[in-house]
């Protein structure tokens, strides 16, 4: 009985080792998968929006600016004048 047990253990150990190395050798010699070929991009990227410049923290005027001074002119006979009502 004891011999039988030793024999069984040896057989399991040997078959495990042989199976492991056999599988290694099989995989090592099997054909490698071909690397994927580079494909041209299919997605057309939308153009990035043009971002407005970030206003300075010190710039309180933001979306408007001061115009250079010009001497006021006397209003002529223009009837299309605006100044509030």
């Amino acid at each position: 009985m004891r011999r039988y047990k030793i024999g069984l253990r040896l057989w399991i150990a040997l078959s495990s080792v042989v199976g492991f190395f056999g599988g290694w050798a099989l995989l090592a010699h099997s054909p490698k998968p071909a690397p994927p070929e580079p494909q041209p991009a299919q997605i057309e990227l939308a153009p990035l929006p043009t971002l407005a410049p970030i206003p300075s923290l010190n710039d309180r005027t933001g979306g408007f600016q001061q115009l250079p001074d010009l001497p006021p002119a006397r209003l002529n006979s223009s009837r299309l004048r605006t100044g509030g009502s």
Binding site: F64, Q65, A73, S78, R79, G83, G84
Partner: protein, 317 residues
Amino acid sequence: MEYLEFRAMNSDIVLAAEGDPGQISHGYQAARQLIEGCERRFTRFSAESELSLLNRSAGRWFSASAELLELVRLSLAYFHRTGGLFDPSILPDLKRAGYDRSMDELRWRGAGKEIPERRVLNPGFDTIRLDEDAGKIWLPSGMEIDLGGIAKGWIAERAARELGRYAPACAVNAGGDMYLVGAPAGQSGWEVALEDPRQPELALAVLNVGPGAVATSAITKRSWQQGDKRQHHLIDPRRGEPAVTDWLSVTAIAPHAASAEVFAKALLIAGSTGATELLAKNGEITFIAVDRQGKLWSTPDIMEMMNANDGAYQVAI
């Protein structure tokens, strides 16, 4: 160019047109009838006007004309777009500041000397309800609205479009709120003089404006003495009192008169500190402001289109 001048809506009205004199005469008649008819309907100074009837029916549904419905709908849209800086429901505050009669009468007789202390808060203009299918408006109890400025611009545009049926190039100027159709022969636009709010007899700039609308709001024109306070008609809805602003006038240029009128007013109330936020939400606004030192401020799009020319700015839109 032929002109017709008359007084309506407590403003000097100027009609200008170029073309066949006979046709222009018919156009003037039609435009004037339209202006005077609309004034009767939308003035708050007549108890019989449609606007007064609407104000008196607050708390219940009111059957409105298509025109009044459109004006109230526009007002509601601009109330939201300006974050409440344009608010027609400030009428009780306007009356409290002394503007409880027409400007002509106020200038003649003056305001009451006492300033009422209590401010009556209304529930907010955005609480009004519209039933467009039934043509009805519902104002909450106690709310009164004044369509003054937006109605004037809207009327000017309608009158100009009516006049435009008779003359290819025409303009209607209603006390500085104007709508321009076409352009005078040989010119790219209309020359519009921008008054100096400190000295109205002087022009700070001349704008060359294409078809569309121009409107100016100023705190210097409709102003009066109430007790020891100098009051003006531009109420800041946030405070319920005449706006305290570093700008004296704002001129806005837009495709439609209602838009120009509303943003001129909202920008003036916002002043230089609040204008940035308003512009961030409404990037299409084009304006020129005049501050207390007489300096001009404008959106960059105006700058790109301007050339100094004989001491005047030329602006094309």
